[in-house]
Point group: C2
Chain length 225, copies 2
Amino acid sequence: MTAQLAISSPTAFKARTAWMAGQGTSEPLRTAGTVVHVSEGREIFAEGEDNDLFYKVISGVVRVCKFLSDGRRQIEAFHVAGDVFGFEMGGEYLLSAEAVNDCTLVSYRRRHVEVMAQKDHAITRHLFEVAMENLAQAQNHSLLLGRRGAIEKVASFLLTWSAHSTDQRTVHLAMTRQDIADYLGLTIETVSRSLSQLERDGIIVLSSVREILLKDIEALEDLAA
Amino acid sequence: MTAQLAISSPTAFKARTAWMAGQGTSEPLRTAGTVVHVSEGREIFAEGEDNDLFYKVISGVVRVCKFLSDGRRQIEAFHVAGDVFGFEMGGEYLLSAEAVNDCTLVSYRRRHVEVMAQKDHAITRHLFEVAMENLAQAQNHSLLLGRRGAIEKVASFLLTWSAHSTDQRTVHLAMTRQDIADYLGLTIETVSRSLSQLERDGIIVLSSVREILLKDIEALEDLAA
DNA sequence: CGCTTAATTGATCAGGGTCAATCGTGGTGG
DNA sequence: CCACCACGATTGACCCTGATCAATTAAGCG
């Protein structure tokens, strides 16, 4: 609360290196957690369950999502190394979380951390930042969903996701087309067509299904503007 | 942090009575603010400005929104009496806020409150709840924007907004059709047509432009499911 | 009473969804 | 090692919802 650390950036994903999560003096929660492994596709928690735990990603990618009664799915966010998710105030989770691929996570017992936070102000501040970061992300996501066309959405997604790649111009996708579609509020076919379109325009190259080369980042940024 | 107060409900708007905002022992911030009046259509703050203040609504309705470079607008939320908005971590606001109609607000100096929060744990917890409530709201909004058709969106909007009305079946709209459209990610025409459609189906009655009677709440809930 | 702005309604169009067929790719087992 | 299989991704044809353009109506307000 006291220090006004600027949050990293108002993007949908956050970039921190996996190896530093859970260690270092900048990590207020480092002593409190339990390491867990979750394999691809497995549920971490579901909407409506008691939320006594929250998590931080060490490696892998997690999706958090909601479902409509008819099965339609909306992915709210993808979480990568360093991100905290599942931290909520009420008695039960408001969304579900699943492993996009094999993940290593640290789980924290909420009540335990709450007690710690009373003594250690740094923890409180850290949790605040987590919450505010997720909020900023959710608000950007709304803008994306409400006011952009299919190509704009896909371009925007590629740019954001490219921030994680070691090489800025090579995007490794951890998720399927269906995941992307459910994140962008599109169908799998429209995502596919948009990618093909971008390739035809010489803006990207689909070097393999899960790997995309960004040839013209300028053009992508114009589309995502 | 310690007490795990359940947040009121995961709806897009929150209902509290105007006359109790800013007083009562349940109000940790009651001594710190300054009352301000903002008239209809006026900007309260804009994306990119220094955020040294945040606000609570006493009366009236506030919209918070983002703009795309081409002028398209996405309203993230409407805030009513009791809601806190403009509370962010970074150095500048990530969204803009405007008065939908004449408003009375209380403004709080962020740095001042941050100092207070160090001494008074109740303030910290209260701000946490504010943040988490806004987060839950933003996430529900994403679901609405990404995965629902026009009629579903409008039905959902009416139900949520009806929670504020004294009479549950009579909805007074503070905002224009354009505001509704920008909140739902639709055009003004589609909002209008959806309302007309609902009236033709006997589900609502448009008693005047700003007043709508909900005749068949069941049917609305089915649509919004 | 007219003027201005918001809202409704209509006609048409296009972006994206749906349905269906084909292609690729990675994994498995012979 | 290779062939087959299963599932994900791509592509095509068509349709439908919601956007766009345009005209009309309604509602404040001076």
